[in-house]
Amino acid sequence: MTDIDNNFDGRLVAGTRCVDCGHVRVPARLHCCQRCGSVALIDIRVPLQGVFESWTSVPGSESDPDRFALGLVTLDAGPMLTVRVRLDPLQQPYVGAPVSGRAVRRAGAVEQFWFELAVDELEQRGAA
């Protein structure tokens, strides 16, 4: 088990940074940098906070408690992820809206990324 596993709290996820070009990737690359091909990669932990790039509704029952929107989020650290988004019906998402998320671990599968609008940050921006 790695340090990353020991420190897992869902707000940080495992990624890699390329020593040569600085490219950050989530999930961690297994062999070489996606951008430059360098094999000099270091393991890092990446905060799940960033901004909306796009989103869409996902067909399903209105009463489904697990109902979610599908989103694209660019993390502040650089990489983009496809994520599940919990949207309050009163919230209006927009491109560039601040979001934060959590990785949910599941047995026998990769983690799922659940995001929501970063309400505190939105309010701070509104107050400013």
Partner: protein, 398 residues
């Protein structure tokens, strides 16, 4: 820099290959109620062999995306070889999601061009309607990154919806400016003998269709369906003897990141641009030299992006082709000439082969009411995933 091992390929594009031609072509009508994958695959194969005037071939390649998941049947190479009484012919299956058909064609082309075989039968087939729409959607999502897109809730419609939202926003385009792609496809499908949908639609009806995944509406999408199409390729004397051989002048395949979110530019199909450049370079032609373009119009927004990737329209302006009706049969950029994926139908693993058969019909002058005037050259572009695999072929009449 410490890089992963690179392979030197000094001979790519320089090795002399044999000229290869299409000498037989056939497609069955796209449908929603096929009863047998076997029957679907056999019918156009038999007709294409008859069209070519041959009874045997040196190889057989089958393109299918997910016959195992849709019908339970894998191992289509020997299945089709057996049904056609072609055993012990070497037979293979090629898979590249929605680009499986054209990828199978590409492999067959390489086999003949290299001199390994003199003739090859290629068949693209998919039977999707046996499973429910929800199950089909799940199977199709396998063309995306399963762990980091599908497991995060993505469907193919969902990914294209997010792409379309950005296209509309970033380029200041309205839905009304993309939907004419669907109207054109349906207009051409009315007289298309093998199309699934033979009905014209109004722009307003398309815009009023139900939302599938905001902002994508029903008429932005291509339908789930069943179909199969076949081509016989040949080189040398066999091709020269054919009165209506259609020559493959260029071929290019390229790949891009598996996940849509890993693209450096969400609104650019890099692999499509590269595959087209490779194919046109080998053909020693320009994209403007083509008389028609069968392109991967699975979603209206993808149609615009493909036209931009081919260099036919500037970035963010592919929608102009639809609004200005450049894409009509008698326009400067005819596309979807038999209805395209939108109206002819999109039986995924067969789609690339339908496009190639349709281009062959155009270049032979046998397209009937769908004929593009004086068609001599065609570009055929087929896509797997959200642009992760692209195959482009350049065809020319004798």
């Amino acid at each position: 820099m410490r890089q992963a091992a690179a392979v030197e390929t000094p001979n790519v594009g320089k090795v002399v290959m044999r000229d290869v031609a299409i000498i037989g072509a056939s497609a069955v009508q796209v449908q929603k109620r096929a009863t047998s994958l076997r029957e679907l695959a056999v019918l156009p194969s038999v007709t294409a062999l008859a069209d070519a005037g041959v009874e045997r071939v040196d190889g057989l390649v089958v393109g299918t995306m997910a016959s195992g998941e849709f019908t339970g049947q894998h191992h289509l190479g020997p299945l089709l070889a057996d049904e056609l009484h072609l055993t012990p012919v070497p037979a293979f299956r090629v898979e590249a999601a929605c680009a499986s058909g054209s990828s199978a064609f590409h492999v067959a082309h390489m086999a003949v061009a290299s001199g390994m075989y003199d003739s090859v039968l290629v068949t693209g087939v998919e039977m999707m309607s046996r499973v429910s729409g929800a199950v089909a959607s799940r199977i199709l999502a396998g063309a995306a990154d399963f762990e980091y897109e599908v497991e995060q809730g993505a469907t193919f419609v969902g990914l294209n919806a997010m792409l379309m939202r950005r296209y509309l926003r970033d380029f200041g385009v309205s839905h009304e400016q993309l939907m004419p792609f669907a109207v054109n496809a349906h207009r051409n499908s009315v007289t298309s003998g093998h199309a699934l949908m033979r009905n014209s639609i109004s722009l307003q009806a398309a815009l009023d269709s139900r939302v599938v995944a905001d902002p994508i509406r029903l008429y932005d999408c291509s339908p789930i369906c069943d179909g199969a199409a076949s081509i016989v390729l040949a080189a040398g004397d066999l091709a020269e003897r054919s009165d209506d051989a259609i020559w493959i002048r260029g071929a290019g395949v390229a790949t891009d990141t598996m996940s849509f979110h890993d693209r450096s530019d969400l609104l650019s199909l890099g692999a499509s641009r590269i595959a087209a450049e490779r194919a046109l370079d080998r053909a020693r032609m320009r994209v403007q030299d083509m008389d028609l373009y069968e392109i991967h119009d699975a979603f209206t927004v993808m149609t615009a992006l493909v036209l931009e990737s081919l260099g036919l329209y500037p970035r963010g302006e592919g929608w102009r082709a639809a609004v200005d009706d450049d894409i009509a049969l008698d326009g400067p950029v005819p596309i979807s000439t038999f209805g395209g994926l939108k109206a002819r139908g999109h039986p995924v693993g067969a789609t690339g082969m339908y496009q190639l058969v349709e281009a062959t019909m155009q270049l032979r002058g046998t397209a009937g009411a769908n004929q593009v005037p004086n068609a001599r050259r065609a570009l055929v572009q087929n896509m797997g995933g959200t642009g992760s695999t692209i195959a482009v072929h350049i065809l020319e009449a004798t």
